[in-house]
Subunit: 152 residues, 2 copies
Amino acid sequence: MKKAMLAALIGTSTLLASGTVSAQAKPEDVIKFRQGVYQVVGWHTRTMGGMVKGQIPYDQAEFARNAEIVAMMSTVAPHAFAPGSDKGAPTRARPEIWSDAAGFKKVMDNFQAEATKLAQVAKTAGSVDQVRGQFSAMSKSCGACHDNYRTK
Amino acid sequence: MKKAMLAALIGTSTLLASGTVSAQAKPEDVIKFRQGVYQVVGWHTRTMGGMVKGQIPYDQAEFARNAEIVAMMSTVAPHAFAPGSDKGAPTRARPEIWSDAAGFKKVMDNFQAEATKLAQVAKTAGSVDQVRGQFSAMSKSCGACHDNYRTK
């Protein structure tokens, strides 16, 4: 994905849960959507993690593809937390997501920034050593949200 | 997303379920991932459908964003059908996905083509009338798979 497009996606996704559909959707549908987004994030992050840990041979194109998908999903995620979607189906989302909206936005923005940077770095990374640092930075940005806004 | 990048993504995604991780993942994890992908597809398709039907005001940038996400997910979907993921968790995937792999690939390729075209058209569509035809074409490509490869 080119920078301009990614920037445009990020621009719209910073409007937390402002989507026209999320405002109308049932809480249980928002929760399913949200969990779907994180299934996609988790799947591709695990693939990259496998390469970083040496469990899977490093493949530049495949790593970059995975990073690209996570970067796009990082722009989608903020749309998946419509107010009211704290219940209606089993969810690990903590109330602080809504009661501390500014704090939550900060960690989500950071996830976007780190995921976007990883996708950029991965485009030309000839070896796994060249993505290791930024993969770690992105993983930390995931953890910052999990630690404070997700039940254990 | 620029054409070149989308073409690159499509290039890799035509390798049905060839992902290094999907080969190692547990069937239930593949199923969760698959259902996650389709939650993301469904969410954004419903938003676009709402605009096409006049239930939601047409917003060019928002429609284009949704189309872009579905286009990317259409490249991800083929990775979510690893052999063996026909069981292990509740799934509506029919055995024909694997027994008729060539037929399945055809409908998946068509979904990619139509979703990619919609994303292109949506970039510059000043009115909902300009996306209506291609949205319909993409929806039919979804239906072609649902009719033959998904249980009712």
